[in-house]
């Protein structure tokens, strides 16, 4: 092992993690182990269906959803997949159907669990044969206004995104799309539903379309924060209100997480290297390796595989564009319902929103490709608490209980450990890059 990895001497635990990473090629996340079993840790599918029916008792597909600008919504609905009750119903059935996976244990809802913020609340996700991936599962709530899907944006539409995990070897593991369609083709219900929805027999492309159609109904934009924006000042606490001022000012969040009627979810749909991946990798070496591999076997499935199963996952957007400026860049995720969609960042390495704030406060992790907008913020503890309070206010009312439980859990954890905190960097006594340059690293 050459000395290619820069490891801060102060952080032995991370050094160990990096060493394990190199040796085994797998991330060592705190307490991340396969759960296994018939549900891989998710709520059983029938119970999830009951929950979704309670959450969204009636969906009127003739109207654009509340909270999203109608013009913008229309832009995101493709012409060959207009919203319809038949399509939504089909997509819903497919979303919870484990038969789509090679061993019949994994459905979309395994990693995008209705009871867990439509994600799995784990650092990285688990697929068939208890295999762990490399990336954190983003929530399927409010995905309609995403300009691209996946953390590296490799799918341009929801339709395209829904298809890929089905054929990924460590997620749902089907050998190809035809096999997936075959798994459900003989089901009479499906035959009827596909006919109603698309006037076709069950097929892989329409599986993607139907699931996308269903996902477009998963709008959860009714939070105390929304009421505050609408003019009800006491909808959120004074602390959260101060957080909103900081969000738009000193904390600089709005630079990448804008929130407005046309884009209500808090993403700029761009890709930024904020220095999370830099903790473990030697980017230049990895990028060279990635280029060589892609030359041998380019194509979307190769990228899909590399993204989830290899060290090169940390290269992020670079795998898609091969632009040097995209090395280690991942898409800005939404802030909606963030309280219940932890752990955070592309690798799930941050357990609490206080960790997230610590990371930003100190200016991320210095690396040659760090986004210039990431700089030390000099936020005080009170200011950090205020922004965190704001973020927790962005959870939809329907998940209020879960949100509160999450807040309590994260708050308790944050009292005992703040692994990403670095006061010297945050308060600008020491600068990012300074330690690398002056040789204070190992």
């Amino acid at each position: 092992m050459t000395g290619a990895i820069r490891i801060r001497p102060a952080n032995a635990a991370r050094a160990l993690a990096a060493a394990v990473l190199l040796l085994c090629g797998r991330p060592l996340h705190a307490a991340e182990a396969a759960v296994g079993g018939p549900t891989h840790g998710a709520l059983p599918m029938d119970q999830q269906v009951t929950r979704i029916d309670a959450l969204l008792p009636e969906v009127n597909v003739d109207q654009p959803p509340a909270g999203v600008d109608p013009t913008i919504f229309a832009l995101f609905v493709p012409s060959d997949n207009e919203m319809s009750p038949a399509r939504v119903a089909l997509g819903k059935k497919l979303y919870f159907d484990t038969r789509l996976s090679a061993d019949g244990t994994v459905a979309c809802a395994t990693c995008h669990d209705v009871s867990r913020g439509f994600t799995d609340q784990r650092a990285v996700s688990e697929g068939i044969r208890d295999q762990l991936g490399r990336r954190n599962a983003p929530t399927t709530m409010n995905t309609v206004v995403f300009q691209s899907l996946f953390l590296d944006g490799r799918a341009p539409t929801l339709e395209a995104q829904a298809k890929l995990p089905i054929v990924n070897p460590i997620e749902m593991g089907q050998p190809n799309g035809a096999a997936a369609a075959q798994a459900i083709a003989n089901d009479a219900d499906y035959q009827r539903m596909f006919q109603d929805a698309y006037s076709r027999l069950p097929n892989y492309d329409d599986i993607g379309r139907a699931i996308a159609n269903f996902e477009r109904t998963l709008i959860f934009l009714n939070s105390p924060f929304d009421q505050f924006l609408a003019g009800q000042t006491d909808a959120i606490s004074p602390q959260a209100q101060q957080g909103w001022v900081l969000f738009n000012g000193k904390a600089r969040c709005v630079s990448c997480h804008p929130l407005n009627r046309s884009n209500p979810i808090g993403t700029d749909n761009r890709f930024h290297n904020i220095g999370v991946a830099a903790r473990h990798q030697d980017f230049e070496k990895l990028a060279r390796q990635a280029l060589a591999e892609l030359q041998k076997q380019g194509g979307l499935d190769a990228v899909d595989r590399m993204a989830l199963s290899t060290d090169m996952s940390e290269l992020g957007r670079f795998l898609i564009t091969k632009n040097r400026s995209d090395i280690g860049a991942f898409r800005t995720l939404q802030l909606r319902n963030i309280g219940i969609t932890g752990p955070y960042m592309h690798d799930g390495s941050m357990q609490t929103l206080w960790d997230v704030m610590d990371h930003y406060n100190k200016g991320g992790e210095a690396n040659p490709f760090l986004d210039g907008g990431i700089e030390p913020l000099a936020l005080s503890e009170d200011e950090i608490d205020a922004v965190v309070a704001l973020l927790f206010s962005m959870t939809d009312q329907r998940f209020a209980d879960q949100n509160q439980a999450m807040f309590d859990k994260q708050h308790t954890l944050a009292q005992t450990q703040r692994p990403f905190r670095d006061e010297a960097l945050a308060m600008r006594h020491v600068f990012p890059f300074e330690q690398r340059v002056t040789g204070q690293q190992q």
Binding site: N248, S255, P258, N260
Partner: protein
């Protein structure tokens, strides 16, 4: 009105000269007074001869002289000339063609005086804006950055493109919103309210420098 910075600069200058003069003179004994004269050869003040020749005292003497001079010359436009000698400023539209026109109570008969007043008052705000634009102190910068560092002569400010939606501002931006964003972030000062005199001056200067550019709101 004389700008504070001009007073400060001129005072420092005068102070330096005062110190040089006093230091070079034969040291007077106690009881002897020294007369110090301003460079206009007219304004004078008297100082005790045994006062120590320090920078601080020099500045006090200089300030006294300047205050005297200001009282005698309340409408001096020296500050404007000084600013314009440093930074090029686009002149406002020429309204002299309107002299002699107009009728009724509102317009009456437009005179040369009117045209001159409009021009002078407009220029005062614009030139003051140039001063603020070029001064980290007046912008309240805590990191010694002023607008002209990235925008010499207010280049690349594009006032003609506002209002436009700016996601990183979280709303549709007017020129003043962008100014405030710049003050908060690259300049790291305190944001100004919309009717703050410095904000009004900045808007005036930035718009003036782009005279002639067609309005093109929403352009990114």
């Amino acid at each position: 009105m004389i700008r504070p910075t001009t007073v400060a600069v001129t005072s420092a200058l005068v102070a330096a000269v005062v110190i040089a003069v006093l230091a070079g003179q034969h040291r007077a004994g106690a009881g002897e007074n020294v007369e110090v004269k301003l460079c206009d050869n007219h304004t004078t003040t008297t100082v005790p001869g045994d006062q120590p020749v320090t920078r601080e005292n020099g500045e006090k003497i200089a300030k006294a002289l300047m205050d005297q001079w200001l009282r005698a010359n309340p409408d001096s436009k020296a500050w404007m000339e000084e600013e314009r000698s440093k930074h090029s400023i686009v002149n406002p539209a020429d309204n002299s063609g309107l002299v002699g026109r107009g009728q009724g109570a509102t317009y009456g008969q437009i005179s040369g005086d009117d045209v001159a007043t409009w021009r002078e008052e407009t220029l005062k705000l614009v030139v003051d804006g140039s001063t603020v634009f070029h001064s980290g102190d007046r912008l309240g910068s805590t990191i010694a950055v002023s607008c002209d560092m990235c925008h010499p002569d207010a280049a690349n400010t594009h006032p003609e493109t506002y209002p436009k939606f700016q996601p990183q501002l979280g709303r549709v931006a007017l020129l003043r919103d962008m100014i405030n964003w710049c003050i908060e972030h690259p300049v790291r000062g305190k944001t100004l309210s919309a009717d703050d005199p410095n904000m009004r001056a900045l808007e005036a200067y930035i718009t003036a420098q782009r005279k002639g550019a067609a309005l093109d709101y929403g352009r990114r």
